[in-house]
């Protein structure tokens, strides 16, 4: 079944060379202004085909997605709304307890009005640089002036941090090494990566890994070619993280090893510990034919190289006996870093910084919620009595085991290197669906 690339928003399937992105979270004070706003912006929304074809000349990179309350506010009927899945209807904050967002990570502590029932939509503006971003933001403000019933609840600015020669987050880990490949996109997965996923794992209306097309929520014109986006805003406590490395490693080399053990990859090059257990090897990290060419079950069953609780080993178990359906637990990660860079030698300055993850999938519960509630936050995972050191809820009471002969080493009392500061579920409709929404009466 051929992908309707001209009807799918570009956000999950392309990766235009944007360094900066503004995310405006919006509310519709009345249905008409919401619809008019969509209608006016429709020509700026990029589809996969157009963005792939002319990334340099055609920078129509706008993306629009809606919450359940947003679809309701635009006038989608109750009858149709009732056919959407529960997680989307309830929203992320209503499911916080199940996800494991407790204590400091509780939605009471989330920012940006993100838990407000008035949160209806997000518009994402990608740009090459700040000047272009400012132009886009100004343009968008014009649309808002024309549609005064559409208001900004909050804004999130994502921007690459220095050094700019490689993509990394505030703790210094190289990022964007792994991503699912989708059948029909003509991309060959790098060695060791998952075989191409059936499109239905990420886009509604296509066969998924079971071979079946899941029934679409109604009306089909609204949901065909759409995806769900799970948004997670995570503050990163960089000073705390660096202090922890220092108190658990006497030399720079030891500290780097501790950092690598927590992640499963070396910070600078992203080289996987399974292939480079003792020291970073940039030839491996920078070689896409090597940096995912490993598994855990055969190559490192006990975790002597990559601890069983390391972030990338929890998020992608690469072992059939842990999950036989890893191909159904994948997400497409989008987003980036927010807040100012903290230079290596600078003390913690208290500034708000972190990452925003937008996880694209076809089934919020099976894919995103499973990763967070079970593999990130379940202390019973692999009988570790741990949580994920980066995306799990931590408060200093849990340890992190580093398997080692003759006896394992324990990193004691993992503090909250991160905190959840926001989250929401969005539906990212296809292009025809946007038109349908703008035409609702």
């Amino acid at each position: 079944m051929k992908l309707e690339l001209d009807d799918i928003q570009h956000y999950l399937l392309t990766r235009p060379n944007a360094r900066i992105a503004q995310y405006d979270f919006l509310t519709f004070r009345n249905p008409e202004s919401g619809r008019n706003w969509i209608s006016a912006l429709l020509h700026t929304v990029g589809n996969v085909e157009s963005v792939l074809k002319s990334e340099d000349t055609d920078m129509r990179w706008v993306t629009i997605a809606f919450t359940y309350n947003g679809l309701k506010a635009l006038g989608v009927t109750e009858e149709c709304l009732s056919t959407f899945p529960d997680p989307f209807k309830q929203g992320m904050s209503a499911r916080a307890k199940m996800l494991g967002d407790t204590g400091e990570n509780h939605p009471d502590n989330w920012q940006d009005n993100i838990t407000s029932p008035d949160l209806h939509a997000v518009i994402i503006l990608f740009a090459r640089d700040r000047i272009e971003r400012d132009r886009c933001v100004k343009e968008h403000r014009k649309y808002l002036v024309k549609n005064p019933g559409v208001e900004i609840l909050s804004t999130l600015l994502l921007e690459a941090i220095p050094p700019f020669d490689y993509v990394h987050e505030h703790f210094g880990y190289r990022d964007r090494l792994t991503t699912p490949v989708i059948e029909g996109m003509n991309v060959t997965p790098s060695p060791g990566s998952h075989p191409p996923s059936k499109p239905g794992e990420f886009i509604l209306g296509y066969p998924d890994e079971t071979g079946e097309i899941q029934p679409l929520p109604k009306p089909e014109i609204l949901t065909k070619n759409g995806s769900y986006l799970a948004y997670r805003k995570m503050q990163e406590h960089v000073g705390r993280f660096r202090d922890y490395l220092k108190s658990n490693g006497n030399t720079i080399e030891e500290q780097e090893l501790v950092a690598a053990k927590l992640m499963g990859r070396w910070r600078k090059s992203g080289a996987p510990l399974v292939l480079c257990p003792d020291k970073d090897e940039s030839e491996v990290g920078w070689d896409d034919n090597k940096n995912n060419n490993f598994d855990y079950a055969e190559m490192d069953p006990h975790g002597y190289a990559c601890p069983v609780g390391a972030h990338i080993r929890r998020m992608n178990v690469r072992d059939k006996s842990v999950s036989g359906i890893m191909n159904r637990r994948l997400i497409i990660r989008r987003g980036g870093t927010y807040g100012p860079h903290l230079p290596d030698d600078a003390p913690e300055d208290g500034a708000d910084r972190g990452i925003a993850v937008f996880a694209g999938c076809a089934d919020l519960s099976r894919q995103f919620e499973f990763l967070i509630s079970v593999w990130s936050n379940d202390t019973e995972f692999m009988e570790l009595n741990e949580r994920d050191p980066f995306c799990g809820t931590q408060d200093g009471t849990l340890d992190f085991a580093i398997p080692k002969r003759p006896i394992k080493r324990k990193l004691k009392g993992i503090p909250a290197f991160t905190n959840v500061r926001g989250g929401a579920y969005f539906f990212l409709p296809g292009i025809k669906a946007l038109k349908y929404l703008s035409d609702l009466r």
Partner: protein, 183 residues
């Protein structure tokens, strides 16, 4: 598992009231008991299907023989399948003891049920959703609705997981091996 909890047998009476139970992705989750997690699912067999259901015993025996580790992700201790009729028609009882709550790995379970032929046996029971291949929430609902919670659970070696038992047995075997080598 902390220190020597396993060495003291333990029983726990479980209240009928489930309102304080944690919510999983698909519904309330029973707390872990001294006999780990588990369920007792009871469903009515469609008329005339007894032999078909019984024959599945062999099918599944063969599936596990072919790939002994096929059910590993479910973290199982035991499965027991029982057919009984106490005057209200033939019923099927499916009891499983797991180290992880069923809700967490329900999609893995459904996939494995499909692979090993367990799902097809469920087609012989009343209320099994027709769209079980695609509808995880409906399958999960079936399990929740047909699950009968224990009011008492007992563990001779409480909270011990199958992995821990296997580790202990492996250790014992290697220890014996070591003693042999030292003769």
């Amino acid at each position: 598992m902390n220190n020597k909890e396993w060495s003291t047998p333990k029983a726990v009476a479980i209240s009928k009231d489930t309102k304080d139970w944690e919510k999983g992705r698909y519904g309330p989750v029973p707390p872990k008991s001294p006999s780990c997690y588990g369920f007792s699912v009871i469903a009515k067999v469609k008329p005339g299907r007894e032999q078909v259901v019984r024959d599945y015993g062999k099918t599944i025996e063969a599936a596990i023989k072919g790939d002994p580790n096929v059910l590993a992700p479910l973290k199982l201790h035991y499965l027991k399948w029982v057919l009984f009729d106490v005057g209200s028609g033939l019923h099927f009882m499916y009891q499983g003891i797991f180290d992880t709550d069923f809700d967490k790995y329900v999609e893995d379970a459904i996939d494995l049920f499909n692979k090993t032929g367990i799902s097809t046996v469920f087609e012989n029971f009343e209320d099994w959703p027709e769209d079980w291949r695609t509808n995880v929430p409906a399958v999960s609902k079936f399990f929740h609705e047909h699950q009968h919670n224990s009011f008492l659970e007992y563990g001779e070696y409480p909270f011990v997981s199958a992995d821990e038992i296997k580790k202990a047995l492996k250790l014992k075997a290697s220890f014996e091996d070591m003693l042999d080598q030292m003769q």
